[in-house]
Amino acid sequence: MLGDLTLWFDPERSSKVGTTPDYRFSLANERTFLAWIRTGLALIAGGLACAQFLPPLPIEHLREIISILLLLLGGLVALRAVDHWARTERAMRLGVDLPRSRFPAVLALVVAVGAVALIVAVLVQVF
């Protein structure tokens, strides 16, 4: 993990190891990074939209809590996106397997659990 962090803050190092891969693979990695950033931005926009457009919920401050959780998730996705980009770039330069990650599955589970919780909250309010 510490090695990954120095990779982050030392721009020169990642371009020195191994050999330069086909630029199209690097561009694909860059697009994947941007797609994750968009996911993060969508979560941030969702957090802001929750705070601005949801009516006050039965539990006090629940609206703000949901918003802040979405914003934290968005920030985490952005940080993870750059980390994953750096590790993928390094793996391509070294010619080793691309890094595997549980993050997409965990994110999907978190979002699904949040959605179910919101559905329950709405149903409780309706009945």
């Binding site: 982050w8 721009p11 990642s14 371009s15 086909d22 630029y23 199209r24 690097s26 561009l27 694909a28 990695n29 860059e30 697009r31 990074f33 941007l34 797609a35 950033i37 968009r38 993060g40 931005l41 969508a42 941030i44 926009a45 957090g47 802001l48 939209a49 705070a51 601005q52 703000e64 918003s67 802040i68 914003l71 934290l72 968005g74 920030g75 952005a78 940080l79 996106a81 750059v82 980009w85 750096a86 770039e89």
Partner: protein, 107 residues
């Protein structure tokens, strides 16, 4: 133009173009976040905190669009290079936007 990689003729510039469009699309997503952050500044009870938050969101958004514009000429090169610095800056500004949004929610 030199033919830098084997098989490049079968992929005439589509990868750089897709990448440029991805940067642009991401800038548009950032615009949605910036607009939602700016919204409270136009509500009737808005004061300096809301104005400051709006200014911060606009600065972050301008920086994100600026990085995308800065990246575009590099993608026109025969062999586009990777840009670790731009990518890191982009992610960190996105995190800053999230922090700013948190402040807007707490106002």
């Amino acid at each position: 133009m030199p033919d830098p990689t084997p098989g490049a003729a079968t992929d005439p510039g589509a990868a750089p173009q897709r990448t440029r469009l991805a940067w642009r699309r991401t800038g548009l997503s950032a615009a949605a976040v910036a607009l939602l952050s700016v919204r409270p500044a136009f509500s009737p009870g808005a004061g300096p905190p809301e104005w400051l938050a709006a200014a911060g969101a606009m600065i972050c958004w301008a920086a994100l669009v600026g990085i995308a514009l800065h990246r575009a000429p590099g993608l026109r090169a025969p062999v586009p290079a990777v840009v670790p610095r731009s990518i890191r800056a982009y992610a960190l500004i996105t995190v800053a936007l999230a922090a700013l949004a948190g402040w807007v929610v707490m106002l």
